[in-house]
Structures are given as structure tokens and as C-alpha cells.
């Protein structure tokens, strides 16, 4: 105890001489219920983990996030499969076979503006190519005209234009 008397703190003790003893208080019977509170806290801490409210909320949130991620991942995977497994030929074959089951509105829904523009351009191109081909074909099928293809009047007019008089015709 000797060591504890080394430090002079009588200034503070003198200052507090005229003061009341206890400055801080506690609620009535606070210490009587203290042990009960500790025991319930300890019990809460050792209760099964799934019964702890904070843990339950945490696990619920984590599970929801995982579920959302799985759904998003699966959707993305399906999209990849759809793109990867069906090439253009397969798609064309599928749509050709099932064209009756697909309505116009469904086709329009599936087409983007870009697809439509490409389609329109290609249709125009095809049309103009077809017209040119038709004309060439018609030309190649054309036979040289014979006198039977013209009327007498047409022949007469032609002769006059060429400078032949009506008297000269017999010499031809």
C-alpha cells in the first residue's frame, strides 16, 4: 500500500469534500436483472444459427442474390445456345418448314430495322435483275419479221418513204 501513497492527489480530494458521494446513478434494480440479461444473451449466441435473426436475414439476402445470378446466367447461356447451335441454313430450313405456323406479326417482331432495310434492298436488287434478264430473254427469242407481219398499207408507206413511185413497183 506504501507505493500507492506516493502520488499526491489531495487537491482533488479536497475539491470533492463538499460534494455528494455518488454522481452517476443506475435505474432501480438494474443489477438485479443484470445476470438474467447476460444469460439470455449467451443463450441467443449459442442458439442454432438458423434461428438467429441477423444471420437469417443475411442468408436470405445472399440466397436471393445467388438465385438472381443463376437466372441471369441461365438466360445468357440459353441465348448463346440459340446462337451457337442453329446456323443460318438450319434456321432457314426450320422457318421454311414451319412458315404456316408463324404469323406476320411474329416475323415482324423478330426483325430489327436493320434486317428490314437489308431485306428491302435485296428485294429491289432482285427485282431489277429479274427485269433485265427478262428483257434479254425476250430479245434473244425475237424472230426476224417477214412480209406477212406487215399490212399492205405499211408496206406502201415504207416504199413511198424510200422514194419508189407507184409505177416503178412492177420492176421490183
Amino acid at each position: 500500500m506504501e507505493e500507492d501513497k506516493n502520488i499526491e492527489d489531495s487537491g482533488i480530494r479536497d475539491f470533492l469534500k463538499n460534494s455528494s458521494e455518488k454522481e452517476f446513478r443506475v435505474p432501480e434494480n438494474y443489477f438485479d436483472g443484470f445476470q438474467k440479461n447476460i444469460h439470455s444473451k449467451i443463450h441467443q449466441d449459442i442458439s442454432p444459427w438458423w434461428k438467429r435473426p441477423k444471420l437469417t436475414i443475411g442468408i436470405g439476402t445472399f440466397a436471393s442474390i445467388v438465385l438472381i445470378l443463376i437466372v441471369l446466367f441461365e438466360l445468357d447461356k440459353n441465348k448463346k445456345y440459340a446462337r451457337a447451335e442453329l446456323n443460318q441454313e438450319d434456321l432457314i430450313a426450320y422457318f421454311s418448314e414451319n412458315i404456316d405456323e408463324i404469323s406476320e406479326s411474329e416475323i415482324l417482331e423478330g426483325l430489327s430495322d436493320n434486317d428490314l432495310n437489308v431485306f428491302i434492298d435485296q428485294t429491289h436488287k432482285n427485282d431489277s435483275t429479274k427485269t433485265d434478264e427478262k428483257k434479254i430473254e425476250e430479245k434473244s427469242n425475237e424472230k426476224p419479221p417477214t412480209l406477212d407481219d406487215f399490212t399492205d398499207e405499211e408496206i406502201y408507206e415504207y416504199m413511198l418513204d424510200e422514194g419508189y413511185g407507184s409505177g416503178e413497183w412492177d420492176n421490183l
Binding site: G11, V26, F34
Partner: protein, 181 residues
């Protein structure tokens, strides 16, 4: 009957008497622990929460208590650490500089329903709040709890010499604050 720390530990270490032993421990230390914490954090509600946390920690770790230190100083060390952590968290949470913590605790003192000190006590308490936290802790344990320097040194994990120096400085500062105000 007053139980010694050794007897309490003996009860706790026996599986059949562990709960009884822990109740004895709480009987002996609940008030002491509460007051050490209360003088540091000022508000009753905060002190209550921290004191409960201390005993939950004691319960969880009593199995690993080897008896290298006294049970009494071991419990006090947990209590002082918890109180200092609470004050640190408070500073961090509200980005408070040291001066503002003092101001905040001083306001708590003014508004606390469970504080009934007179003007003299209030003046001393407000002077105490101007001390650095560890110095305030040392002063509280020595002056109010009347603990031995040797035990405080064990709780705070410092030498007795430096502890005496800290107490001396704390006393001088408080006397100065009291005279100034």
C-alpha cells in the same frame, strides 16, 4: 460468503458447476465492471450494452483462461478494451476529432437522466473528459475504484512506473482544469 477467484475458477472449470461458477463470477464483478465502463462512456445505455458484451466474452473465453494473470485483472482488461473500442468506434463513425468526443460526452453528461452529481462533481467530470482516454481510464481505476498500481499495470499492460507517471500527470491536469474553470 465471499468466494475467492480461485474458487470461482474451480467451479467454472467443472462442467457440472460451470453455470453456478459463472453466476458467482457475475455476482462478484458485475458492478465493478459496470462502473469502470460507465465512467468511460458516461451514458448508462452504452455502459449497459458494453458490460453485457464483456460478460458474454468472459463466458466464451473462460475455458482458455490459464490463470497466468488474476481473474480480476483479466476481466478488467476485457472491460477496458471494450470501453476504449466503443469510444474509438464512436470517433470513426462520426468522424469526430478528439476534442469533439470530449464535447459530445460532456453533452451526454448534461442530458443524462442517471446523473445526479452536483456542480462540484460535474466540474470534476468535465475536467476528466479533457484527459486523453487512457489517462482518464488510469485515473478512474486509481481514484474511484481504488485499485493498486500493480493491478492497473496488469490490466493496461504497462509498467508500474509509467502508470504512476500517467496518474501524476492526470492529477496535475485535473487540478489545473478545476482552477481554470
Amino acid at each position: 460468503m465471499s468466494w475467492t477467484d480461485e474458487e470461482i475458477i474451480e467451479k467454472i472449470q467443472d462442467k457440472e458447476t460451470i453455470n453456478y461458477g459463472f453466476n458467482l463470477l457475475m455476482d462478484k464483478y458485475q458492478e465493478k465492471v459496470y462502473w469502470v465502463i460507465r465512467r468511460m462512456v458516461i451514458a448508462h445505455d452504452a455502459a449497459d450494452d458494453i458490460a453485457q458484451e464483456v460478460f458474454v466474452k468472459v463466458w466464451k473465453n473462460i475455458g482458455s483462461f490459464k490463470g497466468n494473470s488474476k481473474l480480476y485483472t483479466w476481466i478488467y482488461r476485457i472491460a477496458t478494451n471494450e470501453a476504449l473500442n466503443y469510444l474509438r468506434k464512436k470517433k470513426r463513425r462520426f468522424f469526430l476529432p478528439i476534442g469533439d468526443v470530449e464535447h459530445e460526452l460532456s453533452s451526454t453528461l448534461d442530458a443524462d437522466n442517471f446523473y445526479s452529481g452536483d456542480e462540484i462533481q460535474m466540474k470534476l467530470q468535465k475536467s476528466l473528459l479533457k484527459l486523453p482516454e487512457k489517462q482518464r481510464m488510469v485515473f478512474n481505476m486509481k481514484y474511484f475504484e481504488e485499485m493498486k498500481f500493480k493491478d492497473i499495470a496488469e490490466v493496461m499492460d504497462v509498467s508500474v512506473g509509467s502508470l504512476k507517471a500517467q496518474y501524476h500527470h492526470a492529477v496535475k491536469k485535473i487540478e489545473k482544469f478545476i482552477q481554470e474553470d
